[in-house]
Symmetry: C2
Subunit: 113 residues, 2 copies
């Protein structure tokens, strides 16, 4: 059950904070160091949490110079929301599918994850 993995990944204070920050950052993502200083987390602790989020498919990484850029995977979050919505309403979804797009700002910013 993949939903449990996503739930478990988000069921931890620091990790939820990290994810929220990445969601705020949008599809561009942000470097690990920036997350570390924003949330005041030790870099190795942060790596540990990033790994869990990544294992759950909630974030992606890419390297940029010596920084690692982490970004939220909205796709997975959507799937989780869909699953919960479905299972919250006893099989008969009472809401019209929550489509969860990146965020505020950019005009025509594709989420090509």
């Amino acid at each position: 059950m993949e939903a449990v993995a996503a739930l478990a990944a988000l069921a931890q204070d620091n990790r939820l904070d990290v994810f929220r920050l990445l969601v705020e950052a949008g599809p561009e993502g942000m470097p690990a160091g920036a997350v570390a200083s924003a949330l005041d987390l030790a870099p190795n602790t942060l790596t540990f949490h990033f790994d869990r989020l990544r294992a759950a498919g909630l974030v992606t990484v890419r390297r940029d110079g010596r920084s690692m850029i982490y970004a939220a995977r909205f796709e997975t979050m959507n799937a989780l929301l869909a699953y919960l919505t479905e299972n919250c309403c006893g099989g008969a979804p009472c809401a019209p599918a929550v489509e969860c797009k990146p965020a505020v700002v950019s005009r025509r910013k594709k989420v090509t994850a």
Copy 2:
């Protein structure tokens, strides 16, 4: 942060199964024994999981004869969905509030939890 508690409560296979079953059962709920046999869980193990769900505000209990009737708390689930939806979309909710009602069947069945 109360969202983490709800997430943690649902982030476990057996517990998620239990909750899903209770959601299916609707506001009437169902006796612990029925849940135990439906999911093939030892009664003491089940009590353990019920406790966690209850601590997270996701279920309620009441006694009926010698049975304990557990029921899902849709209110809490709604709050969780709302929180996640909000935080999934970077503060600017892109969905019009997911209202999560009990289930299929009953006409005019208030969720007065």
